[in-house]
Every structure is written in structure tokens, then in C-alpha cells.
């Protein structure tokens, strides 16, 4: 199967407009002073972590210089918000057994940004037997394993064995997928491929499964207007070898992008005068849109260039420990 040539003009506009909105939303990504104590991490650390994860990728991988520059600016902003990593030392001292500070720290270490004290702390906390106890959510465990790899820590479990337990690894009946398991499948792919950086990690069996069934899921969730999940499924599609390009699906997502560049999480843009509320309703889908359009742009360029030789599915910006293929 040959890859689909995409519409670089449309894809790049979507990335640019998303980044434009994210740039304007910088103040809402700022961490409050109580971030390590009683602020809700889902409304503070999570948005900033997503911003860092995805702008790092766009800043390295997007073929267009001005887009990379804009993304890097946002990534630098995110690192600055962590006070050059000092934040993670505080978080780990406060919650030494939590995985999320390690997951977030890994986003920055893959870009070479480190904090000496955090390095020492995680070296200790992740060697505990307690750290190896299985987590409730296997997909989440994949995220932890990916963070360990990024930081250069020993992986606490076998990636392939954990993957086999996930909603992707188990190859469930594609019609038996509910919303939560759909998010699980997309994140299984993101952790496995390091967010599309190492697409060759996707085993053929899983790639075949996704190639068959993602179009159905995409159609369902576009109809339901769950834009963030539709964007994630488009990103997954772009991770497939010789990735297909669905122009209709992309246009539907493009149509959901508002004039200011934001993409609502669900349905039409929220009618609210409260900037914080609008931010919460849009930041995730907007980031996902920029991410998916970047991966699709890369896949489209590859289709344009024809079948590549050699190690085909890997793109630039490889992470450390590359030789440790996950499967």
C-alpha cells in the first residue's frame, strides 16, 4: 500500500493557526504559585506538560522553519515555567511515589534539558521495588516506561509485555471500542512510537489492525464531533507505514477550527466569556490538531518523495536509547 499524498497547504495552516492560538494562550498555561501543593494538577501541570510534549516534537520535526521556531518558543516557555526543572525537584519531594513528575520531566530530558537534583531524585525513587508494582492502567504504564527511557533510567518493566495487556495489544473487536478505550489505543500508539518519532516500533500486526479499523473510528468520532479524539486518530493514522491520507476527514477537522485557531474539544466552540473556561475547553484539541497535522505533513512528504530506502519509518529527532527497540 502506498502512502497518501496529503495537502501540505491545509496541514500547515492548521498547525500555524493552532500555534497562534497557543501563543496567545500563554498566560493561561502559566503555573500558579500553589502548583506543587493544592492546585489541581489536571488544570495546571497537565496542560503545560502537553504543551511541552507536542511543541518539542513540532519544533524538531516540522519541515517549515517558521513553524519550528514558533513551536520552540512555546517549548522554551514551558521549560521556563518549570524554573529550569526546579519544579520537578519540588514535586518529587512532595510526592516521591507519583509517576507524573517523572513523566513530565521526561518530556524535557528528551530535548537535553535536565536538572541535576531531579536526576538524583528519580535515580533513587524509580529503583524502589514499589516503583515496579503494576499500575492500574497499562497504557499509563507505557507512558512511564517511555519517560524512563527518555531520562535514561532502567525500564521498570518489559515494554512489549505491558503493551500486550493494553487495549491495542489485545487487538479487541474493533466494534467493541468505547471512548475511553479509544483514547487508550491512541496513547498506546503514541507511547510505543514515542509520539511518532519512531514509527518503525509499530509491529506489522498492530499496523495492519490500525490500518483496517482507524477509518471506522475516525468516522464515528468525527460524526460525534469529538475533535480531540478525531485529531488523535488522524495522528495515529500518520504513524502507519505508508500512511494513508483521508482528505475528507482532514477537512472536517479543519472546519472545526475556529477563526482564532482554537479547536474545541467537542461540538461547536464554547460560548463563554470566561477565558479560563474557554482555555480548558480548547487547549487539548488545539495541541492535538497541531501535532496530528505535523505528523501528517511528514507522512505526506514521504509519500511525495516515493518509497524511501532502508530504515523507512523513522524520522528525525530520535530519542536517546534508540537501540533499545521496544519490541
Amino acid at each position: 500500500m502506498t502512502g497518501g499524498r496529503g495537502d501540505p497547504g491545509l496541514l500547515d495552516r492548521m498547525v500555524q493557526r493552532s500555534l497562534g492560538w497557543l501563543e496567545e494562550a500563554r498566560p493561561l498555561f502559566r503555573l500558579p504559585s500553589n502548583v506543587t501543593t493544592d492546585a489541581d494538577p489536571n488544570l495546571t501541570l497537565k496542560p503545560l506538560g502537553e504543551l511541552a510534549e507536542l511543541t518539542q516534537l513540532i519544533g524538531v520535526l516540522h519541515p517549515r522553519e517558521e513553524i519550528r521556531t514558533a513551536a520552540r518558543g512555546l517549548f522554551a516557555f514551558a521549560w521556563n515555567e518549570t524554573r529550569d526543572g526546579e519544579l520537578f525537584a519540588e514535586l518529587i519531594r512532595g510526592e516521591p511515589f507519583a509517576t507524573y513528575p517523572v513523566e513530565l520531566y521526561g518530556v524535557f530530558t528528551q530535548a537535553g534539558l535536565r536538572h541535576a537534583e531531579v536526576d538524583e531524585l528519580v535515580h533513587t525513587t524509580t529503583r524502589l521495588r514499589g516503583w515496579r508494582v503494576a499500575r492500574e492502567d497499562h497504557t499509563r504504564t507505557l507512558g512511564v516506561l517511555n519517560a524512563e527511557r527518555r531520562i535514561g533510567l532502567r525500564q521498570h518493566a518489559d515494554f512489549g509485555a505491558v503493551l500486550a495487556l493494553t487495549g491495542l495489544g489485545g487487538l479487541p473487536e474493533p466494534w467493541a471500542l468505547d471512548r475511553k478505550s479509544a483514547y487508550g489505543v491512541t496513547h498506546d500508539v503514541f507511547h510505543l512510537t514515542d509520539w511518532g518519532r519512531n514509527r518503525q516500533r509499530l509491529p506489522p500486526e498492530l499496523a495492519d489492525y490500525l490500518r483496517l479499523w482507524v477509518p471506522s473510528w475516525l468516522e464515528n468520532w468525527l460524526e460525534e464531533q469529538l475533535w480531540d479524539l478525531a485529531g488523535e486518530l488522524l495522528a495515529v493514522t500518520a504513524c502507519l507505514p505508508a500512511a494513508p491520507y483521508d482528505p475528507v476527514a482532514w477537512q472536517r477537522l479543519a472546519d472545526a477550527q475556529a477563526a482564532d485557531g482554537s479547536v474545541p474539544e467537542m461540538g461547536a466552540a464554547p460560548a463563554t466569556g470566561d477565558p479560563a473556561e474557554a482555555f480548558t475547553a480548547c487547549y487539548h484539541s488545539t495541541l492535538v490538531t497541531a501535532f496530528a497535522a505535523t505528523l501528517a505533513r511528514i507522512a505526506s512528504d514521504e509519500a511525495e518523495a516515493g518509497p524511501p530506502a532502508g530504515d523507512t519509518a523513522s524520522v528525525g529527532g530520535r530519542t536517546p536509547c534508540e537501540s533499545e527497540t521496544a519490541l
Binding site: L171, E173, P174, W175, A176, L177, Y209, L212, W213, P215, S216, W217, E219, N220, E223, V248
Partner: protein, 233 residues
Amino acid sequence: MAEQTQGAVPLSAVIADAATGVALALRGEGDPYALSGILRQSDALTSAAVRVLGADALAPYAVEHRAAPVGADDEAVVRQALAAYPPGADASQVSVWSYRGLIEASHAFLPAGAQPWPAPPEAEAAWVAGDPWPKLSHRVSQVAALALPGLAPGLAEQLAARTDDLARGFVRAVRRRDWLQAAGLGRWLARLPDAPSTLGLDSGLAFIRQMGGADPRVALHVVAAQRFYGRGW
């Protein structure tokens, strides 16, 4: 839906009753099947119901080793339906294919009477190759009655080339809880040789029966997939 004459049983109810009878026969339950037994020639809606059910009106006769022979009354019921509702010039592709299916089934499953059965009309099939998969799937589910042994071999061959797309339509239909569409697609996928193994067609058909089997037409498709192609449980 067109207005019903006051006091009459709605056509959809007549069809549902008949579908129940067909499904029962396919399961090998109840009295020996006779089309003219479940849809009497003298009833006002019989022809319309036979026309809508299409080949499925004769599906029990496709079962091998039937106990009872087909009676002449059935032939009259089918001929009456064919005469009453021929597809018009502006009929949909589904309508033409369904009509064709009824004629093909008559050729295949009913004894040749005094006069020959009409030749099946030409039915266009460009849509099979050209429709995007959601549209294709919806249409194919509407000609599910043609998923009977020996019927529409050319269509089956063309659909085989789009097996993956029909499987995607099955997934979409189940997720939308469109049980009739899902059952019709599952029935066709049961007939096609290479339904993807990861689809889980057998458990999918069982799931549809549990979730949507209260609709007799859904139940009929699921039973047909099992009876003729051994799929589902």
C-alpha cells in the same frame, strides 16, 4: 412513510411478522415453511411485503434437505408481487437489485411452473466500486437478502474486492447502534471469503442479536448468516 389506510395493519408490521416466520424456518423451528402460509395471496399487503423482503421471502427454500416440497401457491404469491411492484424508471439501485434478487431466488428455489420466470433485470453495479465505504456499506446492508447461496454471484465477486470496507462499515454501524445495517453487513461478510479475522464477525453477529434482535429483520439477517454460512454463535 406513506399514509396508511385507516384501520389497516401497517406494512412494516406485516413485513416484521413475515421476517419472524422466515427466521423461525431458518432456525428449523415451527411448521414447515410456506411463503403462502405466512403471507396469504388474498391479503392486501402481501405483494408489498414480498417485494420488500425480496429474496428473503424464499430464503427457507435455500436450505438443503427441506422436509416439505414447495407448493404452487407460493409461485402465485411471488408472481403477484413481481407484477405489482416492478422497479420504475427512477427506481433506486437498491430497489432494482432487490427485485432482481427476488427473481433470481424464484429461479433457484421455486419449481418451474407452467410459464417461465421473467429474466432478471440488468442491475447497475458501478456504485460497488465507486461509493465511499460508509455509503457503500449502507447500500450493501439494504441488499442483504441477496446474501443467499448462489444468488448474485457477480455482485458477491465485486463486493469481495471491498471486504475491508464493508468490515469498516460493520464497525461503524455497530458503534452507531444501527443494528439493521450492522446485521445486513454481517450477513454479507459471512458470505464473503475473507472477512478480516480481527473484526470478530462471529462474536459481532452474536452481539447484534443480543442488542438488536428484537427487530425481526435484524434477527433474520443474523440467522441467515448462521444458517447459510456458519458464522455467528
